[in-house]
């Protein structure tokens, strides 16, 4: 009896361990999440390809800036066209007012003409917190070997003004371009901007 209790306690303590945040230059933490149709998607499925992770929340004005200007969709189209896997992840807590059900997420992505490989739901926030995703949009790039090569903002213009996307330096575009050309990523960490992820 005593031993059983100890085992239970130990298991609980172990389960409570924190996971280190994803770090540029280090292997990207693996995960399995369900997509909007309920199908589990595993990061390791995309080994051998570049993977872009985009943290998304349709109600966020910063996300709206990049979707209403079609900036995000353009990026998605360009790189999924070059065999890059693009995963949009929503880590919003189901208790938050701006939570979207899988069906709502699916409808929104369709309405926006998104060109993502998959739209994933991370309702527990576990994957978001493992990656240290703080805002929407928070962007990550993983190389074919599974190493994180970029983490940060989508561009250098912290604003909600649609017209800014034209003049901004798009970090993801630059980093993906460099990576696909076989060059090292010149700017691999930037300060992300946007709305707090509603964990």
């Amino acid at each position: 009896m005593k031993r059983t209790m100890q085992t239970i306690l130990l298991t609980l303590v172990l389960a409570a361990f924190s996971v280190a945040a994803a770090t540029v230059g280090q292997p990207a933490p693996g995960f399995t999440l369900k997509d909007v149709s309920g199908k589990p998607v595993e990061l390791s499925e995309f080994k051998g390809r570049y993977v872009v992770l985009e943290w998304v929340n349709p109600e966020c004005p910063y996300v709206q800036k990049h979707y209403d200007s079609a900036n995000m969709q353009r990026l998605q189209k360009e790189f999924t066209g070059k065999n890059v896997a693009w995963l949009a992840i929503n880590s919003t807590n189901p208790r938050a007012y701006d939570y979207k059900t899988p069906a709502q997420m699916q409808a929104w992505m369709k309405q926006m003409n998104g060109a993502v490989t998959a739209t994933l739901l991370d309702e527990s926030g576990q994957v978001g917190q493992t990656y240290g995703a703080r805002v929407t949009p928070h962007m990550y790039i993983i190389d074919p070997k599974g190493t994180l090569i970029y983490a940060g903002a989508i561009d250098d213009r912290r604003s909600t003004r649609l017209e800014d996307v034209k003049t901004a330096k798009n970090y993801v575009h630059v980093a993906m371009g460099e990576a696909l050309a076989g060059k090292p990523v010149s700017t691999s960490s930037t300060t992300p901007y946007g709305c707090t992820v509603k964990y």
């Binding site: 805002v135 901007y193 992820v197």
Partner: protein, 709 residues
């Protein structure tokens, strides 16, 4: 366009005019202290944002998300505006993230240079854009604002005082204020900032607000150590840094005013010497997935249940249960009512304790479970109380002889109050004990909102009251109890001995807190109490002289107890136990822990207190076992002891970071791994199994040596 605007505005006002603009969550306007400009003299203009309750706007560095408020000025030729002078922000937590910003109302001041030849009415216009957020949503808002100065009378406006006050509170550069000294150096996962403020200035809860983004972990606590006039702030680095952490530049904000003006921050900038090490060896991150509410409630209930078996509670409750045997003829309804009242007493006392803890915490005092025992006075009173109880069990006196007739009469005539009070008493005597499961539940309780904290304490109380209340409901569950008889008196007398032992232990606790003199004073108080009790046992009501002497001894006991508690606390424990003197254990400091983990040394931290029975049992039965000690030595584990016997904010904070609120806590830091907590009740096997993960560096070394020719 601009001229038109000024004309329109002029039409509305004779002096200074600014219409507030209302957006859905903010009321914005431009304000000035004076009604007219003075040629060649700079003018301060305030952007006032009146923010809806629960919403906030952002500081120049917004923290983990958000966007600073921006002002784009549209000024007449010759005029120019400076940058926003930001007031000291607040830390605004949002789940695991933190922002820096303002709530309610903020005045953002800007200096506007007025040209020499300026004259006549003038309008200063600006576009202000801000992001306003509540914990749920963020709205970008903005307004076109203008303020017109009509020229003639150079009077003060209604806002002059508020603006001057805001100016006076703006943080100043440390170098302009006095001889502040800042030194920063890189450590493992953090920057250590040493601060020496000018003489006479004390820093209350200092916090660093960085100007640069992406360098620090915005949500992490910044632990502070104080040594004389110097302070050491450990600033945890971001786990996803953006660029190198080479400079500490920003505000040092404190909770108490630094000067007569009421300023609460200084601005400073200092380079970081050395490198910030990888965050892998950083001070432990708080557990990311603590208990859920349901689990915490279950743990609290279980912990309360187990409290009954703790050595401080068991004798007291045994006596209560004996009551069922002796009062076998008592009505069932009466007995059940008493059981329920006892439970109410237990739960009520726990809630009272929780309320006190919450109130003290809100006042900024760092406390945790068992905090009462950090007070020498409480320890002395508890010792006297246990001693009196033990003397009573030994048969030296009966309570009825001591208490004034009216009071003891009330006690007998109202068994309900008696039951309620014994519930409170059980909690009182339980305070030195932490049962298994309680630690995790209490740690969770204090990281939650007040109602949740109260709920968990209720579960704890229900758990503790359950066995007695159930037995009161049906004593047959006790099993076949023997018939009442002389054995009951003997058992009662025997139960006095664990209580005497408890008194010895409390004397030892007082010794570690306040030294030998305090212990002697306590022993003298116990002697006086014994004499009082003996006299009370003899006394018949009529012998006034005996009662007078008894009272005198009682007063002496009280005075001595207070004296014992007042004895000055020695710098280091006056009576140190043999183990803590042993070189194997080093005293815990955050700094030492960071050093050891940075060097890749496995570290075991024993969070303990002399008054914590569970801790002492673990220490004697497990941690000091020769085979356990050998395992520590063989595997090169550094052992740190965090002694919480007296109040220690640093240890309280370290406990909070581990998600705990009381001792014991056993934390094992292995290089490259997150911190691991061992159960509150240690066994030799758990410790050895945990240590086995490290491997055997020493024996490997020995092996190699043997292989060498």
């Amino acid at each position: 366009m601009r001229a038109q605007l000024s004309l329109i505005l002029l039409a509305f006002s004779a002096a200074v005019c600014a219409e507030p603009v209302r957006t859905p969550h903010v009321e914005a306007e431009l304000l000035a202290p004076r009604t007219a400009i003075e040629p060649g003299k700079p003018l301060v203009v305030a952007l006032r944002l009146k923010i809806a309750p629960n919403w906030h706007t952002y500081w120049r560095n917004p923290g983990d998300s958000g966007e600073p408020t921006r002002i784009t000025w549209k000024l007449p030729p010759g005029y120019s505006a400076g940058a926003i002078q930001w007031p000291v922000p607040e830390r605004l937590p949002a789940g695991p993230l933190t922002n820096f910003g303002y709530k309610n109302e903020v005045l953002l001041l800007t200096d506007v240079a007025v040209p020499q030849g300026a004259s006549g009415p003038v309008t200063l216009a600006a576009r202000a854009d801000w992001l306003v957020c509540n914990p749920e949503r963020c709205i970008p808002e903005g307004a076109d604002l203008a303020i017109t100065f009509s020229g003639n009378a150079n009077g003060r406006t209604a806002w002059a005082e508020a603006i001057e006050r805001a100016q006076a509170l703006l943080p100043r550069k440390a170098a302009e204020v006095g001889p502040w000294r800042f030194d920063a150096r890189g450590a493992a996962g953090a920057v250590v900032l040493d601060i020496v403020p000018p003489a006479g200035i004390r820093l209350a809860s200092p916090v660093y607000f960085p100007y640069e983004e992406g360098r620090i972990d915005n949500s992490a606590a910044q632990p502070v150590e104080r040594a004389g006039d110097a302070y050491r702030l450990t600033i945890p680095a971001s786990r996803q840094p953006v660029g190198a952490f080479t400079r500490v530049a920003g505000l040092l904000a404190v909770a108490q005013p630094l000067d007569a003006q009421g300023r609460r921050a200084v601005e400073f900038s200092v380079p970081v010497t050395g490198l910030v090490g990888p965050a892998a060896a950083a001070p432990p991150a708080p557990e990311s997935a603590p208990l859920g509410l349901a689990m915490a409630l279950a743990f609290a209930f279980l912990g309360g249940l187990i409290l009954n078996l703790m050595p401080c509670v068991l004798p007291v409750l045994s006596i209560k249960v004996l009551g069922f045997v002796s009062n076998a003829n008592q009505g069932a309804a009466q007995r059940r009512l008493q059981g329920a009242l006892f439970a109410a007493g237990v739960v009520g006392s726990f809630l009272l304790l929780a309320a006190v803890l919450i109130a003290l915490k809100a006042g900024g005092t760092a406390l945790g479970w068992g905090y009462q025992l950090q007070s020498p006075l409480f320890v002395s009173v508890l010792a006297l109380f246990f001693f009196a109880l033990a003397l009573n069990l030994s048969g030296v006196f009966e309570f009825g002889n001591v208490l004034p007739a009216s009071l003891s009469g009330a006690r007998v005539s109202s068994p309900r109050i008696d039951a309620l009070l014994s519930g409170a008493l059980a909690v009182f005597v339980a305070s030195p004990c932490t049962a298994p499961f309680m630690g995790a539940a209490l740690g969770f309780a204090f990281s939650q909102s007040v109602p949740v904290t109260m709920l968990i304490f209720t579960a704890l109380g229900l758990g503790m009251a359950a066995p007695y209340a159930l037995l009161a409901w049906n004593p047959r569950w006790l099993g076949s109890a023997p018939a009442p008889g002389p054995w009951m008196t003997r058992l009662k007398q025997f139960l006095a001995f664990p209580l005497y032992a408890t008194v010895i232990w409390l004397a030892w606790v007082l010794g570690t807190q306040s030294g030998l003199d305090a212990v002697i004073a306590l022993l003298a108080a116990l002697l006086a109490l014994a004499v009082t009790a003996w006299l009370a046992g003899l006394a018949t009501r009529r012998k006034l002289a005996v009662r007078a002497i008894a009272t005198a001894f009682a007063l002496a006991a009280a005075a001595l107890a207070v004296h014992a508690a007042r004895a000055p606390a020695p710098g280091t424990p006056a009576i140190s136990s043999a183990e803590s003197a042993a070189a194997a254990w080093q005293p815990y400091t955050r700094h030492r822990l960071a050093e050891l983990t940075a060097a890749g040394t496995p570290v075991f931290v024993d969070f303990t207190a002399a008054w914590c029975v569970t801790c002492q049992v673990n220490k004697q039965l497990v941690l000091t076992r020769p085979d356990v000690e050998r395992a520590f030595t063989d595997r090169g584990v550094a052992r740190l002891r965090a002694d919480w016997t007296r109040r220690d904010d640093e240890i309280t904070r370290a406990l909070a970071e581990l998600g705990r609120n009381g001792v014991p806590v056993y934390a094992l830091y292995l290089p490259g791994r997150s911190v691991r907590l061992l159960p509150e009740i240690l066994t030799r096997e758990t410790v050895l199994a945990a240590l086995a993960e490290i491997g055997h560096p020493k024996s490997i070394a020995n092996l190699k040596r043997k292989e060498a020719p």
